[in-house]
Symmetry: C2
C-alpha cells in the first residue's frame, strides 16, 4: 500500500487519502485534510473531536460497539485507467474494499444516494473548464474520468463485545459466551489507512495495465 | 447465469432470486416471491404497482430518469463456501455486482445500516434452532454461514435522457447535446435478472472451489 501510494504520487501525481466520514450515528462533515492525521479517528473535522470521544467512551462503558463509514479519495488519476467490461476499475475497487474485514458495503461516488436522484441531477455535465459535478465518483463505464475517485465503505460494529451472547457448542447445545480482553469499540477507527492502501493497490495495478496496453503514448484530449 | 442457477438448485438446493426493493424515492416493502415475475418491475409487492407505474410515467413525461435498488437472495447455500482472505465470497460478490452497468453501490446484509448499529444489535446470535437474526447477510469472514445470502445494489438513473445537457467536443469547446431515441427512464427495471445471474456465477465458482478442496466430505456440524 505504502509503496503503491508513493509510486503513484511520484509517477503520476496521484494523491490517495482517506478519512472517517461517520462514526455510529454521528456524521462527520469534511473540514480539511490537515486535520485527518492529527487525531486517532482520522476525522477531517477538529470541532467534532470532543463529541466523537465522548460518544465512543459511552459505547465502551456500555460494553458495546458501533460501526463507521470511511471515505477514500484518489486525486489526480489520469483519464482512461480501467477496463470497460472485465476487471472494471470500479469492480476491482469494490472487490478490494469488501476484502477488508468488517466491511459490509461499498459505494462509488453518489452510491446508494443515486437511487433517488434524477438523471438530470446525477449525470455530471462537462464545461470547457471541467466537470460541473462528480456524482460518478470519478468512474464511468469502469474507466477513470480524470475526476477524483471517491469511494465510501461501511464497517460493521466490532463483533467481540464484553456482553453475554447466545451461541451453540460443537454438539449444537445452547451456550452463552462473553468476550474478554482488549477489544476496540469500533474497528472502523483503524480502517482508514487500510482502505487507502487497498485503493492504492488497485490503482497501481491499473496504472501498469494501462501502460502495458498504451505504453507512454500521450492522449491529446484537452485536460479539463 | 441460467445454467449456474439450475445446477446450484439441482445439486445443492440453492435458490437464487432477486427483486426491486426501491424505485427512485419509493421504497417497495417485500410481500411475496410470487408477485415478482408477474410484473415488469420485478416488484415483490402487488399493491404498490399502480404507484410505481404512475411514478415512472411521470419521470418519462418529465424527460428524466431515476435509479433503483435491487435485492438478491440466495437461499440454501451450504455452510463454508468462500475463502477467508483472498477471493472472499463477499469480495467476489461485490466485484460481480459492481461489474453490472450503472451499479454505484453494493451492500451485504445490513450494509450501510450497520454503521449506526450497536454490536449488540448487529451480531447475529445462535440458538439450537438456528440464527436469531441475519444482519450479516449470510456471510462472515468471507465465508457462507448457511443463512440466506442477501445482497443489495444501487443502480444510478439512466444517463441518456432527452434533455439538453452541457458537454464538450473533441477540441474542448462547449457544446450541448440531447439524447434522442428510445431510452428507459430507469435502467434498474431490467437489472434483477442480471444481478441474479451474477450471484449465481460467483456461487457456482465457489461451489466448485469448495468441492475441489473438500471433495464431498460431509461436515457433521449440526444443521441449524
Amino acid at each position: 500500500g505504502a509503496i503503491a501510494k508513493k509510486w503513484l504520487k511520484q509517477r503520476y501525481g496521484v494523491e490517495i487519502r482517506g478519512y472517517m466520514s461517520q462514526l455510529g450515528e454521528i456524521s462527520i462533515p469534511f473540514q480539511s485534510w490537515d486535520a485527518v492525521n492529527e487525531n486517532p479517528f482520522f476525522s477531517p473535522n477538529r470541532d467534532i473531536l470532543p463529541e466523537l470521544e465522548a460518544y465512543l467512551d459511552n459505547i465502551r462503558n456500555e460494553r458495546d460497539s458501533v460501526g463507521a463509514r470511511i471515505s477514500v479519495v484518489a486525486q489526480g488519476v489520469p483519464v482512461g485507467w480501467g477496463e470497460p467490461v472485465y476487471d472494471r476499475l470500479d469492480a476491482e475497487i469494490a472487490y478490494a474494499m469488501m476484502s477488508i474485514n468488517a466491511v459490509k458495503g461499498v459505494e462509488i461516488g453518489a452510491g446508494f444516494a443515486s437511487i433517488a436522484q434524477r438523471g438530470s441531477v446525477h449525470s455530471d455535465e462537462m464545461m470547457p473548464e471541467g466537470f460541473v459535478t462528480n456524482h460518478a465518483g470519478g468512474l464511468l463505464g469502469g474507466i477513470s474520468t480524470g475526476q477524483d475517485i471517491e469511494v465510501h465503505i461501511a464497517l460493521k460494529p466490532t463483533s467481540s463485545i464484553p456482553q453475554e451472547r447466545r451461541s451453540i457448542d460443537k454438539q449444537g447445545n445452547a451456550v452463552t459466551m462473553q468476550t474478554t480482553g482488549r477489544h476496540d469499540p469500533c474497528v472502523g477507527v483503524r480502517a482508514t489507512p487500510i482502505a487507502e492502501a487497498m485503493l492504492a493497490l488497485v490503482l497501481i495495478d491499473h496504472a501498469l495495465r494501462h501502460r502495458a496496453q498504451c505504453a507512454d503514448v500521450v492522449c491529446n484530449t484537452p485536460k479539463i
